[in-house]
Amino acid sequence: MFYRSHVLVCTGSNCNIKGCQGITEALRRELTRLSLEQEVRLVETGCLGLCEHGPALVVYPEGVMYVRLTAADVAEVAEEHLLKGRLVPRLLQPTATVDSGYSLNMSPFFSKQKRIVLKNCGLINPDSIEDYVHADGYIALATTLDTKTPTDVIDVIKKSGLRGRGGAGFPAGRKWEFTRWATGSPKYLICNADEGEPGTFKDRLILEGDPHLILEGMIIAAYAIGATKGIIYIRGEYDLSIRRMEHAIAEARKLGLLGQNILGSELEFDVEVCAGAGAYVCGEETALIESIEGNRGEPRFKPPYPAQQGLWGKPTCVNNVETLANIPAILQHGAEWYQQIGTANSPGTKVFTLTGNIINSGLIEVPMGITLREVIYEIGGGIPEGRSFKMAQTGGTSGGCLAEEHLDIPMDYDSLAGHGSSLGSGALLVMDDSHCIIDLTKCFLKFFVHESCGQCTPCREGTPALYSIIDKLSRGLATESDMRLLKRLSRTMQSSSLCALGQTAPVPVLSALVHFNEEVEAHFKGDCPTCKCHTARGGRQSAN
């Protein structure tokens, strides 16, 4: 059937929160009332990215996005736009105007983006495998099985330069190679969807918006490394992701995309979902493995690496959701195509989640190497309430705190590492000038104290010790020797903790000390410039 228009309503968790359910129902009513059912197709889809402004809907083919809708607004959109073909300016997305261009593709929020991983998010019904197939889904898998050997696949991925998107940035092709050549069977492929990094929700929205993309990536990966069993470990709080993924797996099994003789080939592979139970550290790959085995989620010492001895002691490859979501496109379009996107050392795109004091908080996908400034001001729409920028933290809670002078750093693995930060999971936290850096640091440390697995001494005992020194500083009571101790402790945690949680916990503290030195000095003297801390000279006591 041919539809004149498609209306996509976002049903990602963030919009669900804001009542998209009501929107969908209202729209369905309106379409019936206006007898448009045969002309306009209503698609419930994944996140559109502009979470801050939800509930939202997009009308295609024009690509017009309406935001912050109420049920009454929906009636107006239906009447005006869908029936009469006239825009409703008052409901357009924030950066669009009738004059400057209203199409999604013309708005900077979308025009600056390059969507590989998110290409279907917001455009297809995630609960429909047909929709995915219509959008060229599973083509990469079919052609790969037809035309490439597993080593070919590994070569393509190695050549593409794809690096892991879960935080460490390890080259995906090499990890696959290790697992392929490791001895032991069966081999496991684990998709890491634990996503506990504060300020990160990209994996959830990919899972919710395009679950089949991840499955396709996993099946190709399994083919390459010789894995027969796949597990998607999804954070326990991600109810909708778990349901959508389980549905997608069931659909894929029905079509012979999982199980034995996948698409008529020799390939055997099946996937199960495991749910976490609330532990950030379980995102660490070996802790995740422990958790799947039914244990406390405590990281294992390495070596041996999971590729040698992973789940139940067998060779295991752990990849992040976004890493796997890149795979079908790379195989479909080739390594050269992929390499042209992004930078030489960090090819491809990266999905970021914008949070904090920023106008367009939400989900974006941009080529690697874009500057912080472009992301914050052009895509993110800048700082709300007329305040000015103070700090951006990339990479999540264990990333560095960057200041104004860092706004032109390209966002890629190496550039950020060069400034004491990281790309991490793609979290980007923006803070305006009304906030105190020491207060924020305390908030970070509180997180680590709570989320340390408690296994190794430097982290279990070190995180609370760091917190108490910073707390002292925030009260204006820190001494010179406290500051020296802080640095010595940080060095020890970084060098000697068992896993990257303890190793990186001091990063935000150290970067804050360097990049916001003036403010630190002020606290040292008993002053909190933003009056967030209860310092010796007074000021307000913060939550921490």
Binding site: P198, R235, G276, G294, T353, C443
Partner: protein, 149 residues
Amino acid sequence: MTQSMLIQRFIGEPGGLLKALHALQNSNTNNFLSPQDLELVSGAFGVPLAKVWGVATFYSLYSTIPRGRYIIRVCESAPCHVVGAHNILTALAKNLNICTGETTADGKFTLEVTSCLGICGVAPAIMINDTVHGNLTPESLASVLALYN
């Protein structure tokens, strides 16, 4: 279905022990893992009770003390922190007249703080059981809580 039938299918599955704990906690009227629940898992999975206890006390989604019907979880990670999560927590505590970790006298609400819930797109945000409420202000809380009346 008896509790032991409820967990039977998870034995031997990847992540089975965690799934069993989830299932038991969800079916417990007080939203927690009772000593009997833990003993059941210990027996069914052939794992010492101390280890089941060790697992249950490791993960923050499990509780070993009875809780209310609705668990309110307030995110206190940085993204919510910088947009005023603290005010939400204070307002909630005042509104419900309980401290963090406590349950209202009528056994309805338990107030907990949590690390990031992955809903920072709409920060400050809270979860009440499996439902997320975002872009909150201390003023809008009353209407959210009213949904649970």
